[in-house]
Symmetry: C7
Amino acid sequence: MILFISFLIIKIGRRVIAQFFANKRRGPFQITKRREATLNKLILNTLSYVVYFVAFIMILETFTINIGALLAGAGVAGLAIGFGAQNLVRDVISGFFIIFEDQFSVGDYIRTSGVEGFVEEVGLRTCKVKAWTGEVHILPNGNVTQVTNYSVHNSIAVVDVSVAYEENIEKAEQAILQLLEELPDRYEEMIGVPQLLGVQNLGASDVLMRIIAETHPMEHWAIARALRKEVKTRLDAEGIEIPFPRMVMYSRDDQAEPSQAAE
Amino acid sequence: MILFISFLIIKIGRRVIAQFFANKRRGPFQITKRREATLNKLILNTLSYVVYFVAFIMILETFTINIGALLAGAGVAGLAIGFGAQNLVRDVISGFFIIFEDQFSVGDYIRTSGVEGFVEEVGLRTCKVKAWTGEVHILPNGNVTQVTNYSVHNSIAVVDVSVAYEENIEKAEQAILQLLEELPDRYEEMIGVPQLLGVQNLGASDVLMRIIAETHPMEHWAIARALRKEVKTRLDAEGIEIPFPRMVMYSRDDQAEPSQAAE
Amino acid sequence: MILFISFLIIKIGRRVIAQFFANKRRGPFQITKRREATLNKLILNTLSYVVYFVAFIMILETFTINIGALLAGAGVAGLAIGFGAQNLVRDVISGFFIIFEDQFSVGDYIRTSGVEGFVEEVGLRTCKVKAWTGEVHILPNGNVTQVTNYSVHNSIAVVDVSVAYEENIEKAEQAILQLLEELPDRYEEMIGVPQLLGVQNLGASDVLMRIIAETHPMEHWAIARALRKEVKTRLDAEGIEIPFPRMVMYSRDDQAEPSQAAE
Amino acid sequence: MILFISFLIIKIGRRVIAQFFANKRRGPFQITKRREATLNKLILNTLSYVVYFVAFIMILETFTINIGALLAGAGVAGLAIGFGAQNLVRDVISGFFIIFEDQFSVGDYIRTSGVEGFVEEVGLRTCKVKAWTGEVHILPNGNVTQVTNYSVHNSIAVVDVSVAYEENIEKAEQAILQLLEELPDRYEEMIGVPQLLGVQNLGASDVLMRIIAETHPMEHWAIARALRKEVKTRLDAEGIEIPFPRMVMYSRDDQAEPSQAAE
Amino acid sequence: MILFISFLIIKIGRRVIAQFFANKRRGPFQITKRREATLNKLILNTLSYVVYFVAFIMILETFTINIGALLAGAGVAGLAIGFGAQNLVRDVISGFFIIFEDQFSVGDYIRTSGVEGFVEEVGLRTCKVKAWTGEVHILPNGNVTQVTNYSVHNSIAVVDVSVAYEENIEKAEQAILQLLEELPDRYEEMIGVPQLLGVQNLGASDVLMRIIAETHPMEHWAIARALRKEVKTRLDAEGIEIPFPRMVMYSRDDQAEPSQAAE
Amino acid sequence: MILFISFLIIKIGRRVIAQFFANKRRGPFQITKRREATLNKLILNTLSYVVYFVAFIMILETFTINIGALLAGAGVAGLAIGFGAQNLVRDVISGFFIIFEDQFSVGDYIRTSGVEGFVEEVGLRTCKVKAWTGEVHILPNGNVTQVTNYSVHNSIAVVDVSVAYEENIEKAEQAILQLLEELPDRYEEMIGVPQLLGVQNLGASDVLMRIIAETHPMEHWAIARALRKEVKTRLDAEGIEIPFPRMVMYSRDDQAEPSQAAE
Amino acid sequence: MILFISFLIIKIGRRVIAQFFANKRRGPFQITKRREATLNKLILNTLSYVVYFVAFIMILETFTINIGALLAGAGVAGLAIGFGAQNLVRDVISGFFIIFEDQFSVGDYIRTSGVEGFVEEVGLRTCKVKAWTGEVHILPNGNVTQVTNYSVHNSIAVVDVSVAYEENIEKAEQAILQLLEELPDRYEEMIGVPQLLGVQNLGASDVLMRIIAETHPMEHWAIARALRKEVKTRLDAEGIEIPFPRMVMYSRDDQAEPSQAAE
């Protein structure tokens, strides 16, 4: 049975690849650890595609079906298949460039084609991205034209804090700056002292101040949460008010009804 | 009658396939239970397509209509049919890759092409997805380019709780953390102790805290509902306020009307 | 006159088809009643297309216009017609698969391509869908790529009820559960006892509880309306409050105006 | 002058067509009145296209320009014209099917391709739709792929009425039902007694009840307006309140300011 | 210089065309005034295109460049030009049909392809539309697939007036109807007596009544403004209230705080 | 070095073009000043394209690479290049028509393809548009299908002013009209006396009156700002109120709680 | 090993290029510093593409696979590859024009195809853009059709300030103008004195005044923040009120309930 031999080849292939990657670490080709995981999965994925494809051709031949003739012969059908297969070719070409240009590797946090998450696998035709809430997005590589990679550079945590219009801005700024100086010692994911950018907006009922902090890649969510808590606690301690929405209300006598007033 | 024989073949085919899957469980090819259901339905589906297609060709031949000549002959019509059939080919190729790459199986909860639900059937040309409110979505496989599968990994239940600005954040966090420790014993769909991430947002009238809990696949909706009830009851017991929307109101004398004041 | 004979053929054809379907019910091919209505309309529709098409060709021939030569001859025109006819072919292929795969039948409630309603007719090229407010949507079959069929499985009625934050959730749940037990006896479209899922949301001024009830296909709208009335009446009787929007208001002295306070 | 003869032919053609339709009413081919208006306009429209087209060809020939050679000769230009003319062919094919399948006739109220209104004319290449506010939409038939026709079946008038939460729902339902019984006698466009569907929504400050009434085609707007007035008057008479938006307000002492409270 | 002769020809052509249109008014071909302006501009526009195109060909020939060979020779370039020129052909064909079917003329107010305004010029390739705020939209004719023409029929002015729920609807209707009777004498752009359609909506705080008035084309904006003023003044005079937004407020004691109440 | 000679040619070319434009002003071809700037930049831009293109071909030839053979030979590659170059051809054709039809010139304010600003340069393949906030938009000419040009005709400044329902509309109109009469003397960018159109809307809490003023092209923003200030000051002086949002509030006793009331 | 030699060539190539750019600074070709960084990265990127491509061809040849024959031979596959490769060609052509037309260089802040950020690298096929929050966007050049470049001209900081309706506009304008005069000395990124444009909007509760300031490229965010703080502090000092949202409230007796009033 051709299928059985295919299974065997794949099993052996897996061992060989695992061996190869184990050795390589000592070899001269110094690949970064990050690319290694990606290549490992990719080669396994490619192996199974190739083996099954060859097996499929061989099975057809045992039934004495000549594919070449089949494809060349049927004019209309050939046209239809040519157009249909167009996507397949596009996916493989895209996949090749993802690896070759190192757009992203297994473990990176990316956003592409409307989905976001950690890359689980980059295959010959599709790649898998796992969202932080657990679901797996499976994308044909041809859809991955434009990628945003969050794991290459440090991230920036952005925190906006409201201060009441009645407060003295200078005083509030001093309190926050003093706090920011103390933070890098307490949070090691932070890089350098966070910055207080200034008055981001003069809102309807509050002055919005923006704070940014550089963090290790993908630590900005955690750091932003910590920053919010720290700032809130400090402003409470300093007696600086974080304002609720405000409104000025003019009460009027109902006697002065519009329609009567206009007479 | 060719149609009658076709019916017969399909009936026999179904028995054979049922038999085959019953035996296979004892055989050497260990297919996961999950794929078995998928393949069973797929093979039945493919069988009926093939049998009816052959029957259709045979009927045409009994009427001595030569299809080959027909297709090759009519130039303009052939072109039109070639373009029209393009979608059919695309659907079958896509269907093949869904099965081959195990993108999803019967029973998985997926989202694709704007619909969400449990997979009912993966066919040669279309697949059927049943929404939780009962309706069935029928999709050509060619539309299933990008799939989100919720049944592969554990899910995460996300619960956001508001706490009043007047509350001490530390105290609220302690109360919630204490509750979270007790929960895994009571809900077996939960995996590990849920986490309190921290201050997700400093809102207009409340401090938003986020809690996440890992659960078995697709149990996150039920667990999130349970978590909400538990947290609400605990915060009530601890006397921590879940705030209503707030507003500060300045009442002003109507005498001080804008237009007069400006004089 | 060719047109006159066409009329005759169609009239006779209708009788034969009606006869055929009357007989079939007693015959060996057991078609479900649901498909019968669909096929009846489809065959009538196809008949008129074919008869008129043949008549059209015959009329052209009486004027001794050779269509074959016409199509083959005009190069540029042929190209334009080929592209133009592409949609026609696509519509007929799609129509064939709708029937063959039994995606929907006459009488089903479906949603597709932005319209919703009961299927009135599935034709060779178009299908007609009647909305519940009376208008008829006419769709080429080629637009019906992705269908949602509401008539295959039981429907689920979803009712969301708000309960005030001050209420004891346990007490409200007991009151609702007690009510739900009584309902299946009163509404026969309901299947099994409706479920109280739990706390769906901790809103700004209310705790939202979700109730779902399985119903016969397309009875979920009526059942949801009945459920709403029943729950509202019961909560009133139990003295559990369905809350209005709430707001906490801090009144402040206008003397403390922002700009002055900041000095 | 060729142009002059064309004018003559069109003038004569119009008379003949008018004569033809006048006779037809007495003839054997019983066409519905609705289709007659459509066909009348269509044939006039087609006539002028054909006459002018023939005239255009003849003028070219008098200048001894051979079009056939022109089209066949210029390779690149031919390609460009072929693609450009594609829309023209698509429009004519679509127009043919609109008439043949009787999708809509002159006088129907339709919605298609983002416009709504009464059909004024169905031509060979375009159709004209007049909106109720007076403007005319001119659409190429190729854009009319998906049509919604409001003039085929009876319409349904939908009226939603709010009732206060404090009201007894049963009493409000009785009052409305009593009113609905009396209505069909007063409004002859109504078909049968309107139905009170029940509680459509449990809103933030009101219970929403839905009433539907079957009417003659396109009378639903007028009937809905009448229904609203009747229901409003009856509820007033019965002393049942139609509620304004509601809100529960908690007044709090400003001394208890958030930041101080947290110390 | 070829360019110089081209200038001369265009100058002379303009005179001839002006002369021609001046004579035509007395000639037998009675063209409506509306189309005359359109044709005048169109012929001028076409003239300059044709003259410059011939000049361009002649200049190339003086440099002994054979265009025919150029186009036929370069296979790849020819393909690219063929595709690129496709839009040009489509624009000219569309432009032809705009004139031939009299879709709109210079001076009409139209909406098409996302822009609105008065038509300034219909050219061979583009048309110009001037918005009421002064800017000019330049559209290739190929974008003008679907046109809305406001200048063919009379326009309808639509005015919605709010009346308070406390008012007697009958009384308000009488007051408005009385006013509407008086209006056609005062505003001559109005055609017939405006209609009071009835209760368009039962809003949150008001009963919305709709008034429509038929006007000469494009006078509906001015008439709607006049109607609003007239109705407002009349309702004031009759003492019928146009309501402000309303709200019912329940004040509650803050002691009854949610969390404590639940214990 | 070919590159070096190219540099030289471009430098000399620039001088010649500058000379040419300087002379032209005295020559017979009277080009408007506006087009001159456009043509100047365009010719420079075209020059560098042509010179570098020729240089590129010559360099390839020095390496004895035959491009013609290259293009004709590689079938698949040729196809790919043909499609890829399609955009390039489309851009150049579009660019040509922008200049030839004088759609816009350097210095005009235009909106096209989602961007707005002053035209900086119209090139052979792209054009540059500078937004008023300083950024430069670079658009391929093929994207510039539909253009809105603000610099051809006078602009209209539109100002909407709210007046309270209690005010007498006539009195407010008189005050505004009186003001508008005085304005043209003070603002010279204004053309004629601004118009008071009338009651644009009967809003929830105010009567909206619309004022329009014709201005020189692109002066409408400045004039609108001036108008707003003038009108506000005048209405203040006349004691006519510009209203704040209004609301009618019904206070209700909380004892009358919904749920109890319903018993 | 071919791969090994490729590595070597790339390493050497990098040295040569670095050397070349170091020398160039003293050479005759004066390239701006800005373009140098771009070219440096581009040449490195192109080098690795070309070397690996040649290596890939050589490896195939060592396995004696004739690519030319392969491509020419397989008809259907060739068609599919031709279409698939179309994007690749488009990307390279686009990339070439980005460099040739100097649309943007490494270090510029651009917005294109939905992403914004500083350009990190312009490659043969893709370019990399780094957002200010740290993530890297990787775009195929073919997606970069329309670019907005913020680094070419000076930027404009736009600040909108609300002033209460009760304030005298003249007085507020004076205070702001006085402040703006002092600013250029304190902020050196500012160019010239910022302008007070005037009354941008007559809002529901405030008069909105707009201030703009010209700054060095990309300094407008920082300057806008500084401006907001300065203006706020100055208005506080001058005692000019920045208003909260306002509302006029009419309290009405609940006895006057709508439904009763209407009797």
